[in-house]
Symmetry: C2
Subunit: 172 residues, 2 copies
DNA sequence: ACTGAGACCTGCGGATTTCGCAGCCTCGAT
DNA sequence: ATCGAGGCTGCGAAATCCGCAGGTCTCAGT
C-alpha cells in the first residue's frame, strides 16, 4: 500500500549513524514529521501521529521517548509570563571580555534566566530574564549579571508586550 | 480532610470575575499550579495533576481545556532549531518611527518570525527569525523587514549556539 | 426572600490511549 | 555464516481520557 514510504524511510534510517556534526543526533524525515505533529499539539495521541507519518503507534512512542531522552525536544506548557501576571521580563544583551562560554554557563545557572544564546553582532550573549517585579529585575541585572567577572557591559530591553510566540518552524 | 484547601480555593474563585486589567483572564493559585505541572511535563496525566493540586481528574481537564481555549497557555513540543539542523536563526532589533504596534503586527504576520516582543530601550521591537540558510536570512532581514514603511533601522544578532531554554518560571 | 442562570466541582461508566513485551526483520561486524 | 543491535509491528492489560449527569455556591433580577 505505502511501500514507497517504507522504502524511503529505511533508506533514511540506513545512514542515520552519520551525524552532521559533533554530538548532534541526526534526525530523519519521519522524526521531523513527528516533531511537527507535536508542535501543533503536544498531547496528540501516538496513534494519530502514527497515522499522519506512516508508522505504528508503538514506533511513534519509542521515537518520541528517544527524542525526549536525547534532549532534542521537550513537551511542555508555554505561557506569556506577562499575561499570567505579576512579572517583569527583559532581554539583556551582554558584552564579554575573555571566555564567552564561561559567562554563558554562569547565566544558564541563574534560575531567573530562561533563555541564553551566544550571538554574533554587537552583543556576545543575549539572555532573557523573568522576574517578580522591578526591584527583582534590577537586582538580577545590576548585582548578579554585571557582577560576573568578564562581563564588560550590558544593555537591557524591558518587555512591554509579547506579540507573537510560536513553535511552528517545521510547518512551512 | 483538606477542607482548608477547598476553602482557600473557593475564596480565590469568588473574586475571579474581577480581572486585573483589560482582557487578561485572572488565574487563581490552582490554575497556576496546574500550569507548573505542565511546564514540567506537558503530557502528565490529568489524574496525576489533580492529585498534585487537590482537584479531581475531570476538574483539571476542564481547567486545562479552558486555559488552552483562552490562549493563556499552549502545550507544544519545543526544540532548538539549530540542533535539529539546517537552519539559521537571529534576533533582530528594530527601531520604528510612527506606529510601533503596526510594525509589530507586520512582523507577526511573517512565518519566519517566531517571536515578537515590544520593548523599552534602544530597540522598539525584538523579533526572532528562523531561516533555512544565510541567503534566506539575508532576504528576510533586508528585503522584508527593512522594507516595511516605518522601520527606521534594524540590528541583527545571528545565533551561534543556544545555551538554555526553559519554561519553569513557576517553579521557583 | 425566592428563583433562575452561570460557573465550577465530583463521580462514573464507556471509549481510547498508553504501556510493556515478544517476535520479526535488516544491517553490519566478528 | 552467525550473532547482536536497532527498529518496527502486533497484541493484550492497565491506565487515561472523555462526556455527561448531578450537586453546590454565588450573584443578579423579580
Amino acid at each position: 500500500m505505502h511501500s514507497e514510504v517504507v522504502a524511503s524511510r529505511s533508506a533514511e534510517q540506513r545512514d542515520s549513524s552519520r551525524e552532521p556534526r559533533n554530538g548532534t543526533p541526526h534526525l530523519d524525515a519521519v522524526s521531523l514529521a513527528i516533531i511537527e505533529q507535536l508542535q501543533e499539539d503536544g498531547r496528540r495521541p501516538y496513534a494519530a501521529i502514527g497515522k499522519a507519518v506512516g508508522l505504528s503507534e508503538a514506533a511513534v512512542r519509542q521515537r518520541v521517548q528517544k527524542l525526549l531522552d536525547q534532549g532534542v525536544m521537550q513537551i511542555v506548557a508555554v505561557t506569556d509570563p506577562l499575561t499570567v501576571g505579576f512579572r517583569r521580563q527583559a532581554m539583556v544583551g551582554v558584552n564579554v571580555e575573555g571566555d564567552v562560554e564561561k559567562i554563558a554557563e554562569a547565566l544558564t545557572a541563574m534560575s531567573e534566566v530562561e533563555y541564553v544564546v551566544m550571538t554574533a553582532g554587537s552583543f556576545d550573549i543575549l539572555a532573557e530574564v523573568v522576574c517578580e517585579d522591578d526591584d527583582h529585575l534590577l537586582d538580577v541585572i545590576n548585582k548578579r549579571i554585571r557582577a560576573l567577572p568578564g562581563v564588560r557591559s550590558t544593555e537591557s530591553f524591558v518587555y512591554l508586550k509579547l506579540k507573537k510566540q510560536t513553535y511552528m518552524w517545521g510547518t512551512r
